[in-house]
């Protein structure tokens, strides 16, 4: 650090108040990122305070990692440096909400559960439900582009973020997008921020598109006898007039981990609409399941909240490919599990080609990089897909690149963008693709 620590802490305390600085070593250890313990944690109370903090950090060349609820800090390469963790939990206000507009502007630190509670009386919701996402912060979910079963109908944060207030590396408070549901004024800056993992700017406020809470919802677990049957059922489902709002595919391990009924493989689906349509589509769904030797059983809403547990593993991989290859990649995961003597739970997003693999029980993690991540990644990248190590102990992260390879020319533009907006590498240095 360029200034002596006490002087720096005094300057930080002046900006956010001494009670919002954390300096005791035991407390700081809880904010470690991939084993790197920050020198201080600051909890700003407004976007302006974030701006002043970052201006100070930029002047002192301090490395800053933003943090929402802290549930996804495992994502990304180990940071090159870490001086300060910016904890955004105090930015939890609902700044604007006119139910008739179905738009809400909220602080980045607000949790999904908190937002949901605010919207529920108006029978509206934010259609983003990453597994185990209730305690997660809006800003964190956007910065990591996390999504869940509702993606099947509503897409991801990319489709739901209308406007964004963020702080650039030099402390400049900046706004992009609009507060209305439709706008093409200027560049789509919100899209640039979604999934950028706090490397271009720190999201402090989000304007979100909301959806009406459907009048009726029912959920089913469609158990299927084999991966082939699941693939056929899935293809028929997306090609049918059925319009589920949520869909997720789980294998036997995933079902067991989530505490759901045992099946060789199953789809968890829900249909949300007016009651008559839910009933009619439900019957059609059950019939379609029978055609594919499947069994559709009604399940409670709580089945969905169990999904988070299914992916609570020490290692979590996220593989994205052509949607039609979903089951093929799941099978590749199962084959590897047998070969390596580890347990793998598969949780996949049908229609989007995303397969999450949660891995338990590997004694030698480097082994996992060599024998699981690298060959699987090579195969999926050869088809234009990707494999990201979402969560892993730092040894595994170091033994196999977290993000995989990016086309060098595309990466060179990303590098130009990063160096334009964060030339001194203040924001989450090294955490993103290609060491950005």
């Amino acid at each position: 650090m360029a200034v002596s620590t006490p002087a720096l802490h005094d300057a930080l305390a002046e900006l956010v108040g001494r009670e919002h600085l954390l300096r005791d070593p035991a407390g700081l250890a809880r904010y470690a990122v991939d084993g790197l313990v920050p020198g201080v944690v600051a909890r700003p109370g407004s976007g302006e305070e974030v701006g002043r903090l970052l201006a100070l950090c930029a002047a002192e060349r301090l490395a800053v990692v933003p943090r929402g609820a802290g549930t996804a800090q495992a994502l990304g390469n180990p940071p090159r440096r870490l001086d300060l963790v910016l904890e955004l939990g105090r930015l939890a206000g609902v700044h604007e909400y006119v139910p008739e507009d179905m738009v809400a502007t909220v602080g980045a630190g607000l949790t999904l559960a908190g937002l949901g509670a605010h919207l529920a009386p108006h029978r509206q919701r934010l259609a983003l439900d990453p597994p185990g996402g209730g305690p997660r912060s809006v800003g964190g979910v956007l910065a990591t582009n996390a999504s869940g079963p509702l993606r099947f109908r509503y897409g991801t944060g990319r489709d739901l973020l209308l406007g964004v207030r963020f702080v650039q590396a030099d402390g400049t408070l900046t706004w992009g997008g609009a507060k209305v549901v439709k706008s093409v004024t200027g560049y789509d800056v919100p899209k640039l921020l979604v999934g950028s993992l706090g490397t271009l700017g720190i999201i402090v406020e989000a304007t979100l598109r909301l959806h009406p809470m459907p009048p009726a919802t029912r959920s089913w677990q469609v158990g299927l006898p084999s991966p082939a049957a699941a693939a056929a059922f899935l293809a028929a489902l997306v090609d049918s007039p059925l319009q589920p709002d949520r869909a997720v595919l789980l294998d036997a391990v995933g079902l067991r981990r989530a505490g759901l009924t045992a099946d060789p493989i199953a789809l968890l689906l829900s249909i949300a609409s007016v009651a008559e349509a839910v009933e009619q589509q439900g019957r059609a769904l059950e019939a379609l399941a029978r055609v594919h030797r499947g069994q559709a059983a009604a399940v409670a809403e709580t089945a969905w909240s169990a999904l988070g547990v299914a992916v609570e593993a020490p290692v979590l991989l996220r593989l994205a490919s052509e949607p039609r290859r979903l089951l093929d990649w799941a099978e590749a995961g199962w084959a590897a599990a047998g070969r390596l003597g580890v347990e793998i739970a598969v949780l996949a997003q049908p229609g989007h080609g995303v397969v999450e693999m949660a891995v338990w029980g590997s004694p030698d993690l480097r082994h996992l990089g060599q024998d699981l991540v690298r060959p699987l990644r090579a195969a999926v990248e050869a088809e234009g897909g990707s494999l990201v190590v979402q969560r892993a102990p730092v040894e595994l992260k170091r033994s196999c690149e977290v993000w995989g390879s990016i086309n060098p020319e595309v990466l060179s533009i990303m590098k130009r963008i990063k160096s334009e907006f964060d030339p001194d590498d203040v924001l989450s240095p090294g955490r993103f693709v290609g060491g950005l």
Binding site: E100, S183, S412
Partner: protein
């Protein structure tokens, strides 16, 4: 500055003699888009046949700092596809093929010049369509739709173009030929596809597009509701949204427009009504039947004069023909007009419509309305006659007042048409200097020498706001909004 003979020779070497337009008459076709106020012909038009040719063109232009203006079908409404500084226009009309339809992955790969509607026609038998449906869809290109992030009536339910673009092949202003995104729905790194969509050719040229295909709905219901006043119609829109129903489309037409449509197209809209709502529901049959009842009840509560449900595909098509070709009949209304595309929060619709009428009265101009009411995306058409001294000025004042009113209510300058040359002066109304500066720097990372569509999208450029002169003749029919 005229292009040097050497540059022209090199352009010809890249695209062939048949792909190069340099004659005065030939260039006239390219001097404007559908916003015919802004005129500026390029020095040359090139019609490449491959992405490699596009990349060569950009590298050549970058070497000599020649401005490049991309162009699809030229149906834009913002002066985006015209050349205020001359230079080279790159027209994508020869790159208009469907490369692949991939039903298993529910996507298609197309060249940028492909006409929007052709893709839906080609995928209909397989049970799919391309959801973005700008009113120009029978002539506008998918590359143009992507570059302007085009909307359309059905984006109320299905989202705008960016929600349907999975990947792009682009040539950046730096001359790099890149594939961004693709058939996989996510990939690590910054979302450059998302940034490129809607960039209006200021970051680079789109040479290929991977689009999402959407399953055709099981059933469709189109309802026409007429009202004696625009206030009743506006309150109806707000009430429908408030009830938690999001139709596939929710369009409003006012009395002036209804009359012109009936004289020109005979779509069967009720003459004499103060406003008409065109409401379309699509999806599972049981769902739309259950939604139609409350919608009809809301219409009746707001004193609808008539509620009519299209009984056949022909009736439905006719109702939509009236809406989609509305702008084509404006020639019947007025010799000249200014068109806006501002957006207001949807709860503010009744308020902005009252304000709009007051502004029209204050400046003594007729303002006609046909727009995407469900999104709050207005298309006020401010009528004037440039042969009458002072009318253009009054129209411009009304235009400004209206834009300010929309932004005061928390709106946006443009909902779907884009910024182009037409609206770049207005961006500071919506964005602070820091925000604009961020965008300008973002632009530079793609286009370091500022050759891509200069003078468009951002206000800093001196050409912005200049070149505004009334067209010598009325606007052509066959304009789409």
């Amino acid at each position: 500055m005229p292009l040097s003979p050497q540059v022209l020779r090199e352009l010809e070497r890249i695209v062939g003699a048949a792909g190069l337009v340099v004659s005065r008459e030939g260039l006239l076709t390219y001097e404007c888009d559908m916003h015919t106020f802004y005129k500026g012909a390029p020095e040359a038009v090139v019609l490449p046949e491959s992405a490699q040719q596009v990349a060569e063109i950009v590298r050549l232009c970058r070497r000599d700092r020649v401005p490049i203006v991309p162009r699809g079908s030229g149906t834009g409404l913002i002066g985006g596809a015209m050349a205020p500084e001359g230079g080279v226009m790159v027209s994508m009309t020869r790159m208009n093929r469907i490369v692949e339809i991939d039903f298993a992955n529910r996507c298609a790969t197309v060249q940028p010049g492909l006409i929007n509607l052709w893709l839906s026609q080609a995928t209909r038998e397989g049970g799919y369509f391309f959801a973005p449906d700008p009113s120009s869809q029978m002539v506008s290109s998918i590359g143009g739709n992507a570059s302007t992030n085009a909307g359309g009536p059905h984006c109320l339910k299905y989202g705008i173009t960016v929600n349907h673009i999975l990947g792009l092949e682009v040539v950046t202003g730096a001359g790099e030929l890149l594939r961004l995104g693709g058939k996989a729905h996510e990939r690590p790194g910054y979302d450059l596809t998302g940034v490129m969509v809607g960039a209006e050719g200021t970051l680079g040229l789109v040479t290929g597009v991977v689009v999402r295909l959407t399953h055709l709905p099981e059933s469709v219901k189109t309802i026409l509701a007429s009202f004696s006043t625009i206030e009743d119609a506006s309150e109806t829109v707000s009430a429908i949204i408030r009830a938690g129903i999001i139709p596939a489309a929710l369009e409003m037409l006012d009395e002036v427009v209804i009359r012109a449509i009936e004289e020109g197209i005979h779509a069967g809209y009720p003459k004499g009504a103060g406003a008409v709502l065109l409401i379309e529901l699509d999806g599972p049959a049981a769902e739309i039947d259950a939604q139609a009842a409350p919608i009809e009840a809301i219409c009746r509560e707001h004193l609808a004069l008539e509620i009519r449900v299209a009984r056949s595909e022909e009736e439905r098509a006719l109702l939509w023909k009236g809406r989609k070709e509305a702008a084509g009949v404006f020639g019947r209304l007025t010799p000249n007009w200014l068109l806006q595309d501002a957006v207001v929060p949807r709860s503010k619709l009744p308020e902005i419509m009252r304000e709009l009428q007051a502004i029209g009265a204050r400046h003594r101009v007729v303002i006609a309305n046909v727009f995407h009411a469900g999104d709050g995306n207005l298309h006020p058409l401010i009528c004037y006659d440039d042969r009458v001294p002072g009318e253009l000025e009054r129209a411009k004042h009304a235009n400004e007042d209206l834009l300010h009113a929309c932004l005061r209510l928390g709106g946006s300058v443009t909902g779907e048409h884009g910024v182009g040359l037409d609206k770049c002066e207005s961006l500071p109304l919506q964005f602070a200097e820091a925000d604009l500066n961020f965008m300008a720097r973002l632009r530079r990372t793609f286009d370091p020498d500022s050759i891509m569509n200069p003078g468009k999208l951002l206000p800093s450029h001196p050409a912005c706001g200049e070149g505004f002169r009334p067209a010598a003749r009325p606007l052509p029919s066959g304009t789409w909004i």
